[in-house]
Point group: C2
Chain length 381, copies 2
């Protein structure tokens, strides 16, 4: 039995009980809303995590890279949505996966790419299942729900070219900029309405458009209703993080990912403890910098997970983190050397679980009895 | 022969000719200054890159993790400085490497850790070679050069405890905040003077302190003289990046690392092209944000490496980058859809080569004839 004190640091720790509770919370919510759930596995890229999501009733997965599709298909998951716009050069890999039996779905928002998919599919005798990407909030890709001409044009090029239109999908990524229940509910409503409207535009021409897929962790957790939606996608909910805490969709004690680190030195007169979790471990993600509370590179906790209020990773170099207490009336914590002597283990809650996890070849899953086990994860493309 | 057009994107590309020129430039400079050079291999974590540095006369390497030490020792490099403060829990790994013949040097700035090293060394019959870390510019760890008592205290605990004092070392990390030759020259002078002074304080007590090791890429390239210094360390010079360009120590056409990406869509009325290099490929490093020119998540180039002035990666999600033209009198580039159609390959120069490289399992080394080869790199701890 390996406990935290025996691990080399820095190490990425997953609190297994919190992870299961997060999965269960989303499951309950999706059941209440009456929709299927397709978790986005880009957050963990880790089979034991995805297995836990499947055990809790997930139907299919969402991926952000074809490598994720390959890895999870090899592990036995067949129903996969690749939720990044298709480009012709990637079609041979998609074809190879489909020929092995993977029900890989691809997305498109561009008429020329729709044509390229249809041409490639016909050439190779493959009926690709394609979803049309809808832009519900102006944050990134997709066709605007009001742009009926373009929606129908792309749908016709796909179906006229012999491909299967699976449905329409959108992602309300701008939910990351909000932090009140009211604003999130409103955006969830906009996300739902825009995607349903896009489907209706297509259906009005007589083309079947069965699927309506929406999602982001904040909107999934704040949607009042999902009438007309067939499935929801979300990723970071499985771990949560400080950005989600600031948005207001999780408590601090629901965050399942942390980085175990060791104190390696001090600058006592500045109130600094230096730890071996720098930005290589935490990632360079400073997602809380523009939110209601800036947590620097992370919130410091004791090794047992107890939050140490005011102690943040205030600076980071590649393999050095600087821990200090936020400026209070007392100024720098000049007792930090005795508070956290060299060798002290601490845990840091990250800004962004997707970015921090990606820095590590594996998670150490922390069980309720204090034992840990290695959960490998992958990276790259 | 694999050319860029055949690579899956995103991919990390190393321009081999530029890399060799950068290595040669540093070699010439170190020869002029009359010092040994110990490259910091945390930038590449890649054996072919480090071999090129060795072929050009490097003497030893600097590492930021014990994994780097293990990997490069396994590849035949024995003279290794681990330039992150030692903590007692890491001593067994250090011992194991030294017992295999690795001349691994460790650093310390804390009396209690010096004692712990000496005790562990005596217990295991090992004479560790230890260097004392000096804080020349207040940016991170180390003992202040004026703090003679602490310098001598740590030195006595090491040598009195039977360990070998290899020397003193410092890193002028605050050079990243500067951008004029005069300021960099001044900091290089301060780095040199502080480290030499620290050595003199120790030597004045009769303790041998042979080594004086300094370095950062900007100060190494701007130092006027290095009298009293025995070796220089620097890492990012091997590739350079936009941060170094803003600091003023490299031209844009000397930057050897770029990310090959493919256009996957547009939002034409906003003047956006969407590419498949998001922050997972570029890293979340926004090091140019506080410099004289903010390059967003990177400078866009044509696939042949030609810089496309004004075109930046202005936004990034995990697997999506948004390319736009900086606001000029003409507003958004509404011709971007025809300028960069879907499928167009582009290359993005990153803010920070150490952070961007770390996102990839391998580099694709681009030779002068347009062929590429895979150079694996490692990550983790």
């Amino acid at each position: 039995m390996t406990s935290l004190s025996q691990l080399d640091t820095p190490a990425a720790i997953v609190d297994v009980a919190r992870m299961h509770a997060n999965i269960q919370r989303m499951r309950t919510r999706m059941n209440e809303l009456g929709v299927r759930f397709r978790p986005h596995v880009k957050t963990s890229k880790c089979l034991p995590v995805v297995r836990a999501q499947w055990t809790a009733g997930a139907q299919g997965v969402t991926v952000s890279t074809l490598k994720e599709a390959e890895q999870f298909f090899a592990a036995g998951i067949s129903d996969i949505l690749y939720a990044v716009g298709m480009t012709p050069a990637k079609l041979p890999k998609v074809l190879a996966l489909r020929r092995q039996g993977c029900q890989l779905k691809i997305i498109v928002d561009d008429p020329a790419v729709a044509d390229a998919i249809a041409t490639f599919g016909k050439t190779h005798g493959e009926v690709f299942e394609v979803w049309i990407e809808v832009d519900c909030d102006g944050h990134r890709s997709g066709i605007h729900p009001d742009d009926k001409d373009r929606l129908v044009d792309v749908a016709r090029r796909l179906t006229g070219g012999g491909m299967l239109l699976g449905g329409v999908m959108t992602h309300a990524g701008s939910s990351y900029d909000l932090d009140t229940p009211e604003a999130l509910e409103a955006l969830a409503g906009q996300e739902r309405a825009g995607c349903v409207q896009a489907a209706e535009h297509i259906r009005a021409t007589g083309i079947a458009c069965p699927g309506v897929s929406v999602g982001s962790t904040p909107t999934a957790l704040r949607a009042r209703n999902l009438v007309g939606v067939t499935e929801v996608r979300a990723g970071v909910y499985v771990f949560f993080d400080l950005v989600m805490h600031n948005i207001g969709v999780c408590r601090m004690d629901e965050i399942a990912l942390s980085v175990l680190t060791t104190v390696i030195g001090h600058q006592v007169d500045k109130g600094w403890a230096i730890v071996d979790a720098g930005w290589m471990a935490m990632s360079r993600d400073r997602g809380t910098a523009k939110q209601r509370k800036d947590f620097g590179y992370g919130q410091v906790c004791a090794v047992d997970g107890t939050v140490l209020p005011g102690y943040l990773v205030s600076g980071a170099n590649q393999e050095h983190g600087i821990i200090s207490c936020e400026n209070g009336p007392g100024g720098p914590d000049t007792q930090i050397g005795t508070r956290f002597p060299v060798g002290t283990q601490l845990r840091i809650i990250p800004n962004h679980a997707c970015a921090t996890g990606a820095q590590f070849p594996e998670y150490h899953a922390l069980n309720g009895d204090g034992s840990t086990e290695i959960w490998p994860r992958f990276y790259g493309w």
